[in-house]
């Protein structure tokens, strides 16, 4: 309704002021310069301090009109701009940064290019004309370079009509079609090589030869499963006499069928969605049921769930269930499919979230809405939408109206932890034991609280006595209807210890029942309905029997400047209008169905972003970088694709294959591009011609990620328990870090204690408990990202604490010793032992001199070890917490029992083995620290 009217109005005004229009009158070059270059430049670089806010004009220099400009500021007066004479105009020297102390703009990063200063120069020399807004609009329309892009419209007409550089809009264009036959009929993996080959050819670079089977087997195993190949895997692959392609394809197929595939690739997805087992911020308590979402993701990858379905399940799983219920009517009974869908929608709650007594409910709600708007944008569409919360996007065609329309999709989304029956595939094996320890802790806590209430009662009694009152207890006083002053003060505890312990005990007591939910079939999910009143959250959030009964139905409006308390124009749910089809796409404004519609739009083959975004993520994990360098930002400021046609061709293949991620893996991994060696015969010339490593002439080596490193150590030592899924496991953590005191909401968080049995501790890292506020230092040191923000790509920098951890930690030393002991069991000679170690750790046989060196070192260390006696490691069964008590400021202490350590079965320890084994352990420690182990080629 609104839009067409606006267009008519513009046409009318053009007609009305015909004589003054740019079409008829001569437009001078200087006017054009001003309209197209100088004014946008002033706005972007200067107005923030010189004109946008008339109350705050820096140096009294105002650039908002020609009159004010010519009046100058306090420093240069009227000489700041001398129309017709740029050389005498101070503004020009300031912008050139040649005016001492007055380089403008002050941000060096924002300094003008030489060309930009010339615009200003030429404009001044042309008389510094300043056409009015209408005329500027006309000049812009006629002469501006670039293309306009249709959206729902910005806050200003100028924004709506602004033009973009065509190359910046690549992500909104339809997928590339091979009209000029660049693929020359190639299909499948050969098409990848053809498109990669084009750029190599243009650059005059030869690709590196293919990697050997020995190298490929380790590359493929780590890539698809995050685990090293076992010696027999290597032997089978390397020794197979059949043709490379056949043997290799067979191996890829086997790896894709492995349950470890989903663990590895699910983990990549969990980085993007910020998975964690706790809430973060002030209420960093555990989220007891979060793990079911983690397993859902792993399952989805293992099942090769079509990506469009994967999207729908995560954005609208609960709505799909509701629809199924409605359709089935009274006959509907909850199914495993329902559970799966409800768990999947947990995606919408993966961000950190807090609501405390200090929080304002409305603000908390808005924080969620802002967070989910931005993260759905980043995860599925590679658009960080948060920029548009306060204003139309500065660079992308995303108006602020779209931000709030998109947000309106989630205005009826509410949190709940609902019953969802177990799936037969869910691993529930650890539950009974975990529950038992939980109950022990709960019992100990109750006991402590009982002692404190007895103390309180005794103190009450004493108080009554001292006051000469006839009562012994509060109950008696109450029964006798005693006046207020005849009651003892509320919390009649004496010592800081009592105060502190009571506070901790009380808060834990409140928390325990909620944590017991971990063992129940509950989904951490959402539903659609009114927004219920929210007090501070201390227990499971139940879904109300009637989601429409209580609360307020949110009507989303554009929030002026992002201010929650300044709502302006109301908006209806909608999708991004810049994406072709987005403007026409209709999202219902009913309570239910908004997210289903959004999911349909995102999961549509016509959506130009969705398939590209996912294909780019997949590519990135295979090659270490995306074809487009910012997987979460396909907007104008993200890095452009290095091989746009390839990205598009893959995106098309993805859709044609029925959104099969495994199809993409096969395509990519079967290509020559993927199978290249990491070293180039002419490295020097390659470095010159491809300094940014954009051409894929070689395969780039990579360091193992934190999880891969730990899992690989467990795999080669023979300790890895490959069991899939289930409640979070708790590996050993550096003991000092594990017992590091941590505050949550005025109490101590329970200590981190590992699982009592090695087989439960030594599970894959993706199953390890992930607490936002208490991270495993080893994981953190090796660049595992935090869960505050979506992680598009992990850092893999080298820092010295990594060396300390890998060399000195109990975790690696335990692995090294277990590795040595395990190898000694099966080998008969020193040389044989070294050979097995090399095969397991490096997926190759040692050369003779390597064996000799290792054996020599082993002997040398054995001599050292024969004089050493190792003490058994001691484990704490309790930890004493000291802190200053919040209400008294006095120190208090509190003892926490660590029940798990009563039953703790330690990994193999030095005191349990002989000097020879320990010495081989030292050899293994060096192997696990070596570059060959931590890098994949």
């Amino acid at each position: 309704m609104y839009k067409p009217l606006l267009v008519v109005a513009i046409v009318a005004s053009l007609a009305a002021c015909g004589s003054a229009s740019a079409q008829d009158e001569q437009v001078t070059e200087a006017e054009k310069l001003f309209a197209l270059k100088v004014r946008p430049l002033l706005r972007e670089k200067c107005h923030a301090c010189h004109g946008a806010d008339s109350d705050r004009i820096e140096g009294s220099f105002d650039l908002s009109s020609r009159e004010k400009l010519l009046a100058g500021g306090e420093s240069f007066g009227r000489d700041v701009v001398v129309p017709g004479n740029a050389a005498d105009s101070y503004i020009y020297s300031m912008l050139k940064r040649t005016e001492p102390d007055f380089a403008m703009p002050p941000k060096e990063a924002e300094q003008l290019t030489e060309e930009q200063t010339w615009w200003v120069r030429d404009w001044i020399n042309g008389g510094a004309p300043w056409p009015n807004d209408d005329r500027i609009a006309e000049i812009y329309d006629r002469y501006a370079e670039g293309v306009a892009w249709k959206t729902s419209g910005g806050l200003s007409d100028e924004w709506t009509k602004r033009k973009y550089q065509p190359e910046d809009l690549w992500a909104y264009r339809p997928l590339w079609k091979d009209d000029d036959k660049r693929l020359k009929g190639e299909t499948g993996s050969a098409a990848i090589d053809a498109l990669i080959g084009d750029r190599l050819c243009d650059a005059g670079v030869n690709a590196a030869p293919g990697a050997s089977r020995q190298v490929l087997v380790r590359r493929a195993f780590f890539d698809l499963t995050g685990l090293p190949p076992k010696p027999h895997d290597v032997a089978a692959f390397v020794g197979d006499a059949r043709d490379d392609d056949i043997v290799y394809a067979e191996m890829i197929g086997q790896l894709l069928d492995s349950p470890h595939y989903g663990e590895q690739w699910g983990r990549h997805w969990l980085d993007v969605v910020r998975y964690a087992d706790s809430s973060g911020f002030a209420n960093d308590w555990e989220r007891p049921n979060s793990w079911r979402y983690r397993d859902y993701v792993i399952r989805a990858f293992n099942d090769d769930r079509p990506y469009d379905q994967f999207i729908r399940e995560q954005i609208a799983g609960d709505e799909i269930v509701a629809l199924r219920k409605t359709e089935a009517g009274a006959t509907h009974s909850a199914t495993a499919t329902d559970s799966e869908l409800l768990i999947a929608a947990g995606f919408l709650r993966m961000g950190p979230w807090e609501h405390t007594g200090m929080s304002v409910a409305k603000v908390t709600r808005q924080l969620f809405l802002d967070d989910i708007t931005d993260s759905v944008g980043q995860v599925f569409l590679a658009h960080a939408l948060q920029c548009c919360r306060c204003h139309d996007h500065k660079f992308d065609p995303i108006p602020t109206e779209d931000y709030y329309s998109f947000q309106a999709v989630f205005a009826t989304t509410q949190f709940a932890e609902v019953d969802a029956e177990w799936l037969s595939s869910e691993n529930r094996s650890g539950i009974a034991e975990d529950r038992r320890y939980h109950q022990m802790r709960q019992k100990a806590n109750s006991k402590m609280l009982n002692v404190l209430s007895e103390k309180k009662a005794a103190n009450d009694q004493k108080w009554f006595e001292e006051q000469g009152l006839p009562y012994k207890t509060r109950a008696e006083a109450k029964q006798a209807d005693a006046p207020k002053e005849h009651f003892p003060p509320n919390n009649l505890l004496k010592t800081p210890d009592d105060f502190g312990q009571e506070r901790i005990g009380r808060k834990w007591q409140a928390r325990f029942p909620w944590e017991m939910d971990r063992y129940k079939p509950i989904a951490f999910t959402v539903y659609s309905g009114k927004t219920p009143p929210m007090r501070s959250i201390a227990a499971r959030i139940q879904k109300p029997p009637n989601p429409m009964a209580k609360g307020r139905l949110e009507n989303t409006a554009i929030l002026t400047g992002g201010d929650l308390f300044a709502p302006a124009k109301p908006v209806s749910p909608a999708v991004l209008s810049a994406v072709p089809g987005g403007l026409e796409f209709s999202v219902p404004d009913t309570i239910e169905g908004r997210r289903s519609a959004l999911a349909d739009w995102i999961a549509s083959p016509q959506n130009t972003l969705t398939s590209r975004v996912m294909v780019n993520r997949i590519w990135q994990h295979h090659f270490g970088r995306g074809l487009a360098g910012n997987p979460n930002n396909f907007g104008t400021t993200g890095r452009k694709p290095t091989h746009p046609e390839l990205l598009d061709w893959l995106a098309g293949e993805f859709i044609r294959s029925g959104w099969s991620v495994k199809h993409l893996h096969r395509l990519i991994m079967m290509s020559d591009t993927y199978r290249r060696s990491t070293s180039h015969p002419d490295a020097k010339s390659l470095a010159e011609k491809d300094s940014e490593n954009e051409l894929y002439a070689v395969f780039l080596p990579r360091r193992l990620s934190a999880e891969e490193l730990r899992d690989a150590m467990l795999a080669v030592s023979g300790e890895l328990n490959p069991a899939p899924g289930g409640i979070p496991v708790r590996p050993d953590m550096n003991l000092e870090a594990a017992l590091q005191p941590r505050m949550i909401m005025g109490t101590f968080a329970p200590s981190y204690v590992p699982n009592p049995r090695p087989e439960d501790r030594n599970r894959r890292s993706v199953y390890a408990l992930k607490l936002r506020g208490h991270r495993d230092p080893m994981m953190e040191t090796f660049n595992q990202p935090g869960s505050e923000k979506s992680c598009e790509i992990r850092d893999s920098s080298t820092i010295s604490p990594q060396a300390l951890t890998l060399l000195n930690s109990d975790e690696t030393n335990d692995r090294a010793l277990a590795f040595a002991a395990d190898v000694l069991v099966t080998t008969a000679s020193d040389a044989a032992a070294v050979e097995v170690i090399y095969q397991r750790a490096f997926a190759r046989r040692p050369a003779t001199d390597e064996t000799t060196a290792a054996v020599r070192h082993w002997r040398e260390m054995e001599a050292v070890h024969s004089h050493l006696t190792f003490k058994p490691r001691e484990y704490p069964t309790e930890v004493i917490r000291r802190a200053s008590e919040e209400n008294t400021g006095e120190p208090f202490s509190f003892t926490e029992r660590l029940f798990v350590y009563d039953d703790y079965v330690h990994d193999l320890q030095p005191h349990e083995v002989d000097a020879r084994t320990r010495a081989l352990g030292d050899v293994c420690l060096a192997i696990l620290n070596s570059n060959e182990f931590v890098f994949v080629y």
């Binding site: 941000k107 360091r703 505050e788 820092i799 300390l804 000195n808 060959e932």
Partner: protein, 464 residues
């Protein structure tokens, strides 16, 4: 992601040997050519180091440095607050609470302090009080993130990372950003000293007050240094042979070097954290081995040592000031536990001629309310969180010592004079350290990012 290019920057920072997987800005590249220290944007700035005394939990300005006699008249008067802009805890029946402490003016400047600041009173003229700062968040972790990183939701670089990014390092064998936390980490955890999107080598390194100062700094007790040397030599052999087979892969050399650096650190770090070599007079002055000061005294003394060694940014945490109830007791015992160590730190730095080049900042994540709610059925005078008013003070480093800038209203509920958002205070801190927030930017995820997020204004009144 160019592993083939040799990266000289990786040995720049003691702890960190950050290899170029991040696109380094030109600023770091320049640093690599010098000895590590960089020219600040404002060479005339005095401060070269910063000691940030973080009073975690939110100290009450009303009960420390900003007296409100009006609250005596209003004491225990009830009122009701409601509306959707109120939290569960701040709405409903409330009453005004006077400060349980007496106030006096100290020094020539006549600085307001409650009577418990016995030692700080002696250095009153070194302090610059600021009462105009406002923040946004009312919850501890988000407020901590805001103070420390400029972003309420965490994930961005901490102030100490930015300062090191801008000024470079003076001591290549030590991290430039060291955190001395309480035994318990502050709420929000290590993200409070994260390098965010800046190179990993700029992250804050916490030195633990008990046990191993840096995790895993030593092997288990039975392994001697010569023993570990042998392991390292064997590792060196393995890596050398491997590197010969992968000549183009430069990350290998960086990783090899990181082991040697780690081995050296094992010797150096315990030496640095050892304060036993200090004179008895110094130890007593700070309050080492005395209660209730020992805890902070040790860390204040260590902070001085670290600054002497060239560490740019040291952050200390003292907790917890979150006195919702019983403020008379809670603040009553907290103030004496920090008063002496902090006053000693200022005097000590001054005597050594280091105060001028060391900016000291004292603040919490927010101030507290002049009123309290009725909780737990009893009346236990305390105060809730208040993002609209707080007291910050600075010493040394070119701040406007001997002055109080800004003011709060008559009950301490709102800042009313020289009111600035925390981002302006951030810009001011950088400015005192010779850095220009607008120039200290880093290209990440499609735009230049800076500590103040969107730019801010120097609070000129706080500068000498």
């Amino acid at each position: 992601m160019n592993h083939q290019l040799h990266n000289r920057r990786e040995h720049l920072f003691g702890l960190g040997a950050g290899v170029g997987s991040v696109a380094f800005s030109s600023m770091l590249a320049e640093a690599a050519d010098s000895d590590g220290a960089q020219q600040p944007h404002f060479p005339e700035a005095k401060a070269k180091h910063c000691i940030f005394l973080y009073m975690e939990g939110g100290p009450s300005h009303i009960d420390t440095f900003d007296p409100k006699p009006k609250l005596r008249d209003l004491h225990l008067q009830e009122f009701n607050r409601s509306g959707e802009e109120q939290s569960a805890m701040s709405s409903g029946k409330r009453y005004y609470v006077q400060s349980p402490f007496e106030f006096k003016r100290h020094g020539e400047s006549g600085a307001d302090m409650c009577h418990l600041w016995e030692n700080l009173a002696g250095v009153a003229d070194e302090l610059c009080f600021y009462r105009g700062c406002q923040v946004e968040s009312v919850n501890h972790p988000t407020a901590n993130y805001h103070i420390n990183t400029g972003n309420r939701f965490g994930g961005d670089p901490a102030l100490g990372s930015w300062v090191n990014y801008g000024l470079g390092t003076e001591n290549k064998d030590l991290p430039g950003f060291i955190v001395l936390p309480e035994l318990a980490h502050p709420q929000g955890g290590a993200a409070n000293w994260s390098n965010g999107f800046l190179p990993t080598s700029l992250q804050g390194t916490p030195l633990r007050p008990k046990g191993s100062p840096i995790l895993d700094i030593h092997p288990r007790a039975e392994i001697t240094r010569p023993h570990q040397r042998k392991t390292l030599d064997f590792l060196g052999q393995l890596n050398k042979r491997h590197a010969n087979r992968h000549p183009g892969h430069d990350q290998l050399a960086a990783r090899m070097e990181s082991y040697e650096l780690a081995f050296r650190m094992q010797m150096q770090v315990p030496d640095i954290v050892d304060i036993s070599g200090e004179s008895k007079q110094t130890l007593d002055g700070y309050g080492v081995d005395q209660e209730p000061t020992d805890n902070l005294a040790r860390r204040c003394l260590l902070a001085r040592k670290l600054v002497e060694k060239g560490v740019r940014f040291v952050q200390l945490y003292a907790s917890t000031w979150d006195s919702h109830d019983y403020i008379a007791k809670a603040h009553g015992s907290l103030i004496p536990s920090v008063d002496k160590p902090i006053a000693a730190l200022i005097s000590d730095l001054k005597e050594r001629g280091l105060l001028e080049e060391t900016l000291i900042v004292w603040m919490g994540e927010f101030g507290r309310t002049p009123d309290n709610g009725v909780r737990g059925g009893g009346v236990a005078y305390g105060r809730d969180h208040n993002p609209n008013a707080m007291t910050v003070w600075m010493a040394g480093g070119g701040c406007y010592a001997g002055h109080t800038v800004g003011a709060t209203d008559e009950i301490g509920a709102q800042a009313v004079e020289h009111v600035h958002h925390i981002r302006d205070f951030h810009v001011t801190l950088l400015r005192l350290l010779g850095l220009d927030d607008n120039k200290l930017s880093y290209y990440h995820a499609g735009r230049f990012k800076q500590l103040s997020q969107f730019g801010g204004k120097v609070i000129e009144e706080l500068m000498a």
